[in-house]
Amino acid sequence: MPLAMSGLILVALAACAVLLLGLFRPQLAYPATQVFLAAAVVVELMTGTSSGHWWGGLFVQDAFAAFIKPVLLVVSMAVFLYGRPMVSRWPQGEYYTLGLLAVAGMLILTSAGHLLTLFLGLELMSLALYAMVALDRDNDMASEAAMKYFMLGGLSSGMLLYGFSLLYGITGTMNLQAMALALGGAGAPGSAVVVALTFALAGTAFKLGVAPFHMWLPDVYEGSPAAVTLFVGAAPKVAALVLLARLVGQGAQANLAIWQPALMVLALVSMAVGSFGALWQQNIKRLLAYSAIAHMGFVLLGALAGSEAGYGASIFYMTSYAVMSTAAFGVVLVVCQMAQTERIADYAGLAERSPWLAAVMMLTMFSLAGVPPLLGFMAKLEVIRAAVGAGAVRLAVLAVLLSVVAAFYYLRVVKVMYMDAPTVALGRSPDVTVPADIKLVLGLNGAMILLLGMMPGHVLHWCQQALRGFLLPS
C-alpha cells in the first residue's frame, strides 16, 4: 500500500472515531476532529513527496496532490473552527463525521488518476455536503436549499457520468494518462469526443458553480446555515478545480481545440453574471454567492490556457480565493451570532461596534475586489497574465473591466460598515463574546490576505512547482 495514502486513511478513521465519540462524549467530537485533521496535515507533509501511480492509476500521488491536500486540510480546519459556535446545537458526532467524510472525498478526488476514483471521491464529497446542508432539521430554508442542491447536484453527476461512459467507450480505458494518449491519437472519432467532453464539462461546471450552470448556487448559499455555507464555499471549490484539472487538463489535454472555446465562454459568462448579479443583493450570503460565481470565472481564465503555468495560476487563484472566502464567511458567522442578521444594511456601524471585525472584513472585501497590495490582486494578475499568454487578450481586457464593476458592491459593504449609522439589529444586540481562538485565527486569516498579497513569491513558486510534470510532455 502506498505510503502517500496515510493521510487519507487517517481522515477516514477519524470519521469513524468521531462518529463513536459523538455517541458517548459529544463535546469531544470537535476537538478530536481538529486533532485528527492536524495530524493528517503533518502526515501529508511528511509522506506527500513519495510519488507514484498505484493500481492502474486509481491512486496517484504527484506534486500536484502533495500541494493540494494540505491546503484542503488546513482550509477545512479553519472552517470547522469558525463554524463551531453555530453548530453546537446540532448533533455533534454526525456533523463532524459528515464533514470528515467530505474531506476524505476531496482527498480521494485529488489523488485520482482514473475516472472511477474521480467519480467516487466527488460523490463522497457531494453526498456529505447535501446532508450537511439539511442537518439543521427544523430549519425550513435549509431543507429547501438542501433539496435544490441535491437535485441539481444529482443531475450534474449524471451528466458528468454520461460523459465518462462515452470517454470510456471511445478510448477503452478509464486511466487518465492512457486516455490522454488515446484521445490524442488519430483513431479517436471527433464528433463523439465533442459530445463526451461537452457532458463532462457541463457536469464539472455545475460542481464548480460556473455560469450558466450556477442556478443552484445563490439559493444554496442563502438557504444553508452560515456554518455550512462556509464549508460549501471553501474547500469543495478547490476540489472542483482539481476535478477540472485532472479531467480536462490531464485526460483531455490533447483536445485543447475542443474545450478551450467552451472554457472561454464559461469564463466570460460567469464573470459577467457574478459581477452584475451581485449589484442588487441585500443578503450578504447571496452577495458572496454571486462573488463566488465571478471568481470561478477568473479561475477558468487560468485553466483555459491548458498549460502548466496556466493551471499553476488557477491553483494560486483558487487557494487565494479559499483564504479570502473563509475570512469573509468567518466574519459573517460572527455577526450572525452577534446580531442574528444576514442583511447587508445591518452591517452598518460594525466599525464602531467591533473595529477589528470590520477591519478584517474590509481587508477581505478589498482583496476580493482586487485592490493592489492584497492577495486578490496578485491572484487576478496571475490568471490574466496566463490568459494573455494563451492569446485571449480580448477576454483578459473584459475580465479587467468586469472586475471594476464588481468592485462597486464590495466597496458598498465597506461603506455600510464604516459610514452608516447602526441599525436596530447591531445597535441593540446583546454582547456576545467571541471565543479567543476564533478571534486569533480570524486575525491570522486577515493578516495572510495582507502579507501574502505583498509577498506572494513563495506561494506562487509552490503553485508553479506543484504543476511541474502535470501534463504529458508533448
Binding site: 491512486f59 459528515l98 442537518l135 463523439a192
Partner: protein, 207 residues
C-alpha cells in the same frame, strides 16, 4: 451479436416505461414504471453478457431502492397533481430540445461501436467480476464502503426523531437489573391472635 427479438422487445419496454416515469401524474404509477424500466434494462444487460449486474439490478434496485421509493411515496401526502399550465406550455419546446439532443448524441455516436462485440472469456461472469472487484478494484471498493457509511449516517441523522412519552421495553436495562432494585425484605411483626389486618407500613413494596 445480440439476439434481435428479445433486444427489440426489451428496448421497447424500456423506452415506453421511461416515458411513463416522466409522464405519469401519479407518483405511485411513476415508481412502478421505474420498476418496469429497471427490469427491462436488466434484460438488455443480460443480453450483453452482464449477468451478475442484471441480477444485482433486479435484486438491489427493484428489491430495495424502489421499495424505499414506494415507501416514501406512501408516507408523504401525495396529491394527484393537476398538470400545471407551465408543463403544458413548455411541453412542445421540451420535446423539441430532447429530440434534438437525442439526435445529436446518436449521430455523434454512430461509428463508435460497430460490428459484433467481443465475447467475454469462458467461466462465469460473476466469478470474473468478483475477482476484479476484490483485487484490482479493492481501493474503490473501500471507498464505496465509506459512501454507504455516509448514506447510513446521513439518512438516520436527518430522519430519526426520538419521540417523548413512548413506552417501550429496554432489554439492556432489563438484563442489568439487580436483586436490590426489585426486592425488599420486610421484618413483619409477629402474627396477632385477634386476626387484625397487617399494618399499612408492612405492605410489600415492590415495583
Amino acid at each position: 451479436m445480440l439476439p434481435a427479438l428479445p433486444f427489440y422487445l426489451a428496448s421497447a419496454f424500456l423506452i415506453g416505461a421511461s416515458l411513463g416515469v416522466v409522464g405519469s401524474r401519479n407518483p405511485v404509477y411513476a415508481a412502478l414504471f421505474l420498476v418496469l424500466a429497471f427490469v427491462s434494462a436488466a434484460v438488455l444487460w443480460l443480453l450483453a453478457g452482464a449477468e451478475f449486474l442484471a441480477m444485482a439490478l433486479v435484486v438491489v434496485y427493484v428489491g430495495a431502492v424502489m421499495v424505499l421509493f414506494l415507501f416514501v411515496v406512501m408516507m408523504i401526502d401525495v396529491r394527484l397533481a393537476v398538470l400545471h399550465r407551465s408543463f403544458v406550455r413548455y411541453l412542445p419546446l421540451g420535446v423539441l430540445v430532447a429530440v434534438a439532443m437525442m439526435v445529436q448524441i446518436i449521430a455523434a455516436l454512430r461509428g463508435l461501436a460497430q460490428g459484433a462485440g467481443h465475447a467475454f472469456p469462458e467461466g462465469g461472469n460473476t466469478e470474473a467480476l468478483g475477482t476484479l472487484i476484490y483485487t484490482r478494484f479493492l481501493y474503490p471498493f473501500e471507498i464505496a464502503g465509506l459512501i454507504l457509511l455516509l448514506a447510513i449516517v446521513a439518512a438516520i441523522a436527518l430522519t430519526l426523531r426520538r419521540r417523548e412519552g413512548t413506552r417501550h421495553q429496554d432489554p439492556g436495562r432489563q438484563v442489568l437489573v439487580r436483586k436490590q432494585d426489585r426486592l425488599r425484605l420486610w421484618r413483619l411483626p409477629p402474627h396477632q391472635a385477634s386476626g387484625e389486618q397487617l399494618p399499612a407500613s408492612a405492605q410489600r413494596e415492590d415495583t
